[in-house]
């Protein structure tokens, strides 16, 4: 058993060494990609999952990084294996663009609606608007003025 473990460890070290030699300056890192890739069985990003599938995908990403693949190439590989759902954020193309622009459009439309409402409200309370009448006839008003004048 100990011999087997030793053989596996040596093999892992040899592989890791050869991988590092194959790509001395990797284009990306696992820690960066972990937050951008989903675990397909637990529906969280890889950095939040220890599920077996997540562990396997992390290992696969490490292998691709060691092969000097770029972030774009790695994501394309994962999409080919698991479908577009493996990406935490939808791609910036085609129908998926809607996921980016629709919320922004909603915020802009909401802001316009609020601005329009405020503009209308401020206009309805403008200075040129005539004050409402007292509702008294002219004679009563005259009497009231006289009464107030006497009080002064």
């Amino acid at each position: 058993m100990i011999v087997r473990i030793a053989v596996v460890l040596v093999a892992a070290l040899v592989l890791a060494g050869s991988a590092a030699a194959a790509c001395p300056t990797p284009h990306t890192s696992l820690s960066k990609l972990e937050g951008e890739i989903m675990c397909p069985t637990c529906h969280t990003t890889l950095d939040q999952s220890d599920a077996a599938a997540a562990q396997r995908i992390k290992h696969h990403i490490q292998v691709l990084i060691a092969q000097c693949r770029t972030e774009k190439q790695i994501k394309a590989d994962l999409v080919a294996n698991f479908g577009a759902g493996i990406l935490a954020a939808p791609p910036h193309k085609g129908f998926d663009l809607l996921a980016w622009w629709l919320p922004l459009g909603g915020v802009i439309a909401g802001a316009i609606a609020v601005a329009f409402g405020v503009w209308r409200w401020s206009r309805s309370r403008g200075p040129d608007e005539e004050p409402p009448g007292s509702g008294l006839d002219e004679e009563t008003e005259q009497r009231l003025d006289e009464l107030l004048a006497r009080l002064d």
């Binding site: 069985t41 077996a52 599938a53 396997r56 696969h60 294996n81 698991f82 479908g83």
Partner: protein, 177 residues
Amino acid sequence: MRTLKLTGQVVALAAVAGLLGLLVWRLTHQSKPPKIGGPAPGFSLKRVDSSGTLALASLRGKPVVLNFWASWCEPCKGEAKMLEQAWQRYKSKGVVFVGVDYHDVTGDARRFLERHDITYPTVQDGSGMTADRYGVSAVPETYFIDRRGRLVGEHIKGTVANQQNAFFRGVTAALGS
């Protein structure tokens, strides 16, 4: 001004109706697990063991044992040998075993097939959409489909190695009807 207000109201109503429509569509299109006796959900998936695709419809007229597995799944390793032995035993009777590799890397899946000497056709369900349609919650899971494309026997959750009686009853049910 009145027209503008009316337009705004119509747009707001249309937006609310649209969102409501989306909600209704989502609720009515949620995948429900198939029932035993009902039709097996169809699929056409890329093969892992060779090139091309395999459609379930192309196997109509043959009993099918459908096994969902993944290379990262420990119990799947434990049942691989028994499944291959069962395939060798039943293929002469016309039974087709189909492995469905679930949420897996193609290279890992191929290595798994080689390591466990799996010779029956295996397809890849990387996105898990087919598994979702069958109601698979975890691998391994096994289904039995009769010649008419209906699900029969018992739906086995977990390794078949621990549920051999249910497995052979399933194969018999698929063969029998």
